[in-house]
Structure formats: structure tokens, C-alpha cells
């Protein structure tokens, strides 16, 4: 018996900027920005596929590297998983010398 497909969860597209390496998110206008809360969120699988395909084009155009779709919470406008939240918001520990 095949496993039931997992229910779809909203996603946003994230990658790293090729030149600087910093974490970026794809907006509705197709820009890549540091602010995760500005990311375009796909609420259905078809939209997710479209957004990821567009991101991959930006990978091929040498704008970003390693674009992926990550589970995103439409309310907080932040990633769902801890790992991705840390990517979006930075280390959970203070940067040495910053305080």
C-alpha cells in the first residue's frame, strides 16, 4: 500500500546570494531580499512549483545559489523549521563583540 501524500504546507523560496553568500528570499516582484517577511508565499503546490522554477532560472543566471522551497508560516511570515528560522534571522547567540 502506498503512503498517503503529505498535506501541502505553504512555502517560500530561499537561496544564497552568489556574490556575498548571504541568505535571501524571493519576493513577489522576483527580487531577492534579506528580509524573510517580504518573501512571496506559495499557498498551493502549483504556485510552489512556479516559484521554484523561477528561482532556478535565477540560479542559472548566476544571481543566487542553491534555491529551495522551505515551509513557511503565513501568519508570522517566517520559516517553520528552526534551522530555516536561524537562516532567516541569524544565529540565536550574540555575535561576539557586538554587545
Amino acid at each position: 500500500m502506498s503512503k498517503a501524500a503529505k498535506p501541502f504546507r505553504p512555502v517560500a523560496i530561499t537561496a544564497n546570494d552568489l556574490r556575498s553568500g548571504i541568505v535571501v528570499f524571493r519576493t513577489e516582484t522576483g527580487d531577492w531580499v534579506k528580509d524573510a517577511t517580504r518573501a512571496e508565499i506559495a499557498l498551493d503546490p502549483a504556485k510552489a512549483e512556479t516559484l521554484l522554477a523561477a528561482a532556478k532560472l535565477d540560479h542559472d543566471r548566476n544571481i543566487v545559489v542553491e534555491p529551495v522551497a522551505v515551509a513557511f508560516d503565513p501568519e508570522s511570515r517566517l520559516p517553520v523549521l528552526l534551522r530555516e528560522r536561524i537562516r532567516a534571522q541569524g544565529p540565536t547567540v550574540a555575535i561576539p563583540g557586538s554587545v
Partner: protein, 552 residues
Amino acid sequence: MYRYDEFDQSFVLERVAEFRDQVARRLSGELTEDQFKPLRLMNGVYLQLHAYMLRIAIPYGVLSSRQMRKLAHIAREYDKGYGHFTTRQNLQFNWVELARIPDLLAELAEVEMHALQTSGNCIRNVTADHFAGAAADEIVDPRPYAEILRQWSAIHPEFTYLPRKFKIAVTGAPHDRAAVQVHDIGLHAVRGPGGKTGFAVYVGGGQGRTPLIAHKVRDYLPEEDLLAYCEAILRVYNLEGRRDNKYKARIKILVHEKGKAEIAAAIEAEFAQLKGKTLNLPEADVQAISAYFAPPSLEQLAATSAALETAKAANKALERFVRHNVTAHRNAGYGVVTVSLKPIGEPPGDATAAQMEVVADVAERFSHSEIRVSHEQNLVLPHVKLDEIPALFAELAKHNLATPNAGLVTDIIACPGLDYCALANARSIPVAQRLSERFADIARQEEIGDLKIKISGCINACGHHHVGHIGLLGVDQKGKELYQITLGGSADEHTSIGEIIGPGFPTDKVVDAVEAVIDVYLGLRKGPEENFLDAYRRVGAEPFKAALYADA
């Protein structure tokens, strides 16, 4: 100190120019990411959780003041003002821009540094005892041998595409401070017939997802056979090591699957072909390289320093610092000083640019401009006059660099974990910080005594949890961080792999759990002279399990 010769310098400069061209071609789109990735990895550039990370080689952990100042400059100009000293005696910058890395590498080359052999499936940067050339118990300085191995292994054409990475560690004292038995090759210097230097050779150790203690394949390998024997080991591994599965590609798996006897026989057969030929290591060459590592001219001094004793009597903090952070030097009147990068509540191994400059300055004033990086993520000033320790201590204390905790419970090793690392499943640094704060009271730390806590944020074990007296392994359990506790590990001459004590603990319970383990130890030890590891080896896991899982 070792100085680059003309060949080294031109080679490093050529590599910088080559990488500059590769980066330019990547940025212009001429190289795809798939084409570029192996090239950047050969130059120490990773793409980590937040940004590009550059891992800089500090061969056998040796730095000069000049080099440390350059690292401080790079931290400030190319990064966010700090760097992370690693369990491989390297330094990582976490926030470098790809476009600027060629300039950064050119600056490093100005001080004879680079990022070669810090990544990829090659023979990695060779590590050594961080007290090398200074420790009272040393029989031979391991650094010349580590340097000879560096020269032999750097871009060795036969060993540039190994099945997996390959790590060699060398130690020159009976007490192993370089963890040689958990390396692919561990070399432990010994005296042989006629007092000649040689090595006990260990093969097939390692941590990661399959922790294994290396097998001793030679009790005594003569010095002149060092390279031929290492080449024989690498050849056997390169030919027979698995390439079908990344997780089974290390030499430890080969040794484990074939058995020590079969591997030892294969190494000896290969060695028989190589012995006494081009790889023979003439004593004159060893002496020539050893001359680069000649100790600085140290004075003839009394074994004890009246000035230091007087200062200690008047200053309890200084007395504690000396007791915990100063180790016996082979020259009377000198000490080996550990500069703790584990201030209470701070990320283990991190140093700001300002702190790097302070260490560079005090090394220049007090330690002949010599600095060492330890795999325990501290810095070391190897040659300090006992008379000058009070002045050194006062200077370090101004910059939060005089925490008197070397070897104590807050001298915690921790990998970068999920705060920085793309491979991690759980955070390491915040757990280390909370443990450090829980045990901040120095009197309590002294009561507990020698205790090594080591934390890894994933099974790759960069935080060496397998060999921690208390090890913590962070795992991801359905989106929650969970920490498995191992007890009884050790990475010295009596190496052991810690045993998993039972189910893991969530992040809000793990510090209490470690405290419970330590309380059990304090309750059952024969006295303060029986340290945690000895007590654990005497009583086993049961009393600890009983305390941790009383409600289960």
C-alpha cells in the same frame, strides 16, 4: 618558527592567482556552481548556513604574533569582527563575501598563511600537540615531523582525490594531548633502540557517525621510514577504501571491515616496496627542518619565581590562573600558559579581532611572539617567564582572556552547531553557554576537578562528543532539539569512546541532566583525587543511569 621557503611562497601565490581567476569566472557565469564547488572547497571555502565560510589552515596549531594580527585585521575588514578557532586547530570566518576572498587570501599569503588542505578529500592540515616544543614531558618536538608531513602531503598528486578526507595527528610526549588515536593516522613519538626517535603508528581511528579507536600497527617505526610508511598506508587506503558510500569511505571502515591483521599486512607489503627509496627521510633533512623550530633563546632561571609566588600570595585570582592555566615548561623558570577562549557564558573558541590583537601583543611581550591553537579551542603562549606571569595575567584579564578554567568543567568544546553550520541538527553553543553559566562558580569548578564536556550539533562529531568525559550529541527529533548524553569518553593515551547513557534530553532539561551526572560523581568518588573519568571507569554507567532515569 617555521618560515616558508621560496617554493612555498610562490606556490601559495600561484594558488591565490588561480583562485582569483576561478572566482571571477564563477561571478561572470563562465563556471557553473557545480563546476565551481569542488574548486572553492580546495581553497577552504564552504557555503554555510548564513554565508560563505572560509576555513584557514593553522598547520599544527602554530601562529606568530604577526600572523595573529593579520587574522585580526581580516576579521575586522572581511568579516564581522571575530573568528572561530576549531577542534582541528584551524580558524573559521563565518561571513566572508565570495567576491572578496581572493583579496583575503592574498593578505593571508603575506604572512605565509593559506586555506589549503582544510577541505575536500585530501590529506588535511596535520595537527599536533599544542604544547609542542615547550612541554616538560615532551621527548621530541612533533612540529618538524608535522611540517615534513605537510610538505609531503600538500598537493600530493596520488592523494588529491582520496575516497574521503584523511587526518593525521602527531604527538611527541607520553601524555597524548593531540588525540592521535581518533585520527586516520596517529603518530606517537617514542624512543627506540639506542634512544633513536621513532613513532608508534596508529591507523583507522576516527569519530563521526562511526566512532572507532585506531589500531596500533607499529610499536616503533624508525624516523627515516616516516614518509614511506605513511605513503604505504595511504596507498592501501586509496586502492582499497570504499568509494561507493560516502559514510563508509574513511580508512577506519576499511580497517574495521578487513581487520587489523589484514590491513597491517597490506601496509607492510606496500612499505616493503617503498622502504629505503626516494621517500627515505635522511637525518640531515630532519635536522634542517627541526632548525626552523629551534626554541627561542630562553634564559637560565631558577625553577621557582619569587616574584610570582609573592604576587600569587597577594592575589587569589592570579593564584587560580596559575594553578589551572599554567603548565610545566621544559625550561626551568618558564611556564606554558593557556589563554582560555571559554569565558563564562561565551561561545567556545570564538575570539574578537580586539582579543586576537591582545594575544598577538602579549605573545610578543611575553612569549617570543609564539602562539599555539589547541584542538580544545584555546590559545597557548608557549614560552612565558614565571616572573612575568603576573603582568601577563593582568593584561589578559582586561580583555576577558584570563578565565582560570583550563581543563575544568567550563572548558567546554563545542562545534558551531545549528547557529552556523549547514550540517547541524541542533544548537551546540547555547547549551555550552548555559552549562558554563550553571557551573560559573570557580570554587565549584575546582571541587569538581578535571572534567571534559564536549558538544556536537550532529553526528559528524566536530565537537568530539564521543571522547568527552561527558559528551552531548544534538539530534533533531521531529523538529525539536534533543541531546544524547555519552559518558566515559577520552582522547588521551588511554582513549575510549563514550557510552550512550540512555534516551536524550530536550534542550530545557539537558543542563539539569549534566548537573545530575556531576552530582552523582561527586557523591561516589573516593575523594577529590579520583577524577570523573577514573570514577566512571571504576563504577560504570549504572549509578548515573539510576539518577538520570529515576522516574522512567
